[in-house]
Amino acid sequence: MPSLKDLKNRIASVKNTRKITKAMQMVAAAKLRRAQEAAEAARPYAERMNAVMAGLASSVGGQEGAPRLLSGTGSDRVHLLVVMTSERGLCGGFNSTIVRLAKARAAELLAQGKTVRILTVGKKGREQLKRDYSTHFVGHVDLSEVRKMGYSVAQGIARDILARFDAGEFDVATLFFNRFQSVISQVPTAQQIIPARFEGAATTALYDYEPGEEAILADLLPRGVATQVFSALLENGASEQGARMSAMDNATRNAGDMINKLTIQYNRSRQAAITKELIEIISGAEAL
């Protein structure tokens, strides 16, 4: 049975924890709003880009000499997994869900006898993958210095990926990130970026292309990689804050429950001590 003083200290410490988690929740809520706005602001560009590229890809795609970024290298032996996670923890299952998806894919590919290479973006995923897959690591992008997720960050990552592709280091590249659906739901997603794949119907309008279709496509595909990386980063950013917000909300609630329980226990022990003292006094008086 803890003493009254112990209980008091314990309650004070849990109250402090609650203050911290509450503050983190509010910070995450503010950041989430900004991250969501950024993700929304980036959408028109990505959508147009995709629509135009899908149109071009459908007309150029089948032909001889289509760009390698579209048609692939002709094999799918070496896979590059780009695992995008956060730099910080305390965000519930955010990082684990991404890593779990990536691990499952890596295991599946290895079972098929393919080569797996892993590029990690963000510290947390690297830590979790290190134990099983550290031999597959080819690089790491550190985002801890990045204050605002700008397009230039995505361009840097895309340039790295493209340089590796040009050097023949891999055949297929896949991005792993959490797609933001709502504060309580983030969907771990695997998105293949090289060779490029397009969803949805191509634009039907017939365009004049200047210069030629293939030249434009060759120019756009690298930009498309950067755009996809950028929207993945933004989705991930919003998801991270959403996950952190709900995790911290839970933590705050748990701390509250714990404080209630401890307070009851504290009051009971206090009452017990008072009763005990009274009994002692009364039985002392009776003995006289």
């Binding site: 980036a42 560009y45 397009y151 995505a154 017939l206 004049d208 434009i216």
Partner: protein, 130 residues
């Protein structure tokens, strides 16, 4: 009075402009072009230069570093990798962009393309006179 078309300028990070214009001047990769209402649907890549949208309120000009434009009879959408309102373009910014263009040009396998990139950037700078 000429007809009007919808002009949108979007960068990866946000939508920079959305307005109704009578004509839009675009620095295409193979030469400048002006889009007005009823233009043939065209997609063109951009070289570094200045996009001008002429509307009833006057001329809005943006410096773009590259990207592409989608022209339809009723609308023009410019997707620029990086776009800056001309009023905000100063010497320091131009120096940054120029340095960036040079480093990009150095990375390109095609030397002509690299040189063109730097020259376009220099021309844009001269046109702005900053």
């Amino acid at each position: 009075m000429a007809g009007t078309l919808q002009f949108d300028l979007v960068s990866p990070e946000r939508r920079l402009a959305a307005l109704t214009a009578t004509e839009v001047q675009i620095p295409g990769a193979e030469g400048d072009l002006t889009a007005m209402e009823g233009h043939v649907p065209t997609i063109t890549t951009l070289r570094p230069g200045i996009v001008r949208a002429v509307s009833a309120q006057g001329v809005t000009a943006y410096l773009v570093t590259g990207g592409f434009a989608e022209i339809n009879p009723q609308s023009v959408t410019v997707l620029a990798e990086r776009a800056v309102p001309v009023a905000e373009a100063n010497a320091a910014l131009m120096d940054d962009l120029l340095a960036e263009a040079r480093s990009q040009a150095a990375a390109l396998a095609d030397r002509d393309a690299g040189e063109k990139l730097v020259n376009d950037m220099l021309a844009a700078r001269a046109a702005l006179a900053v």
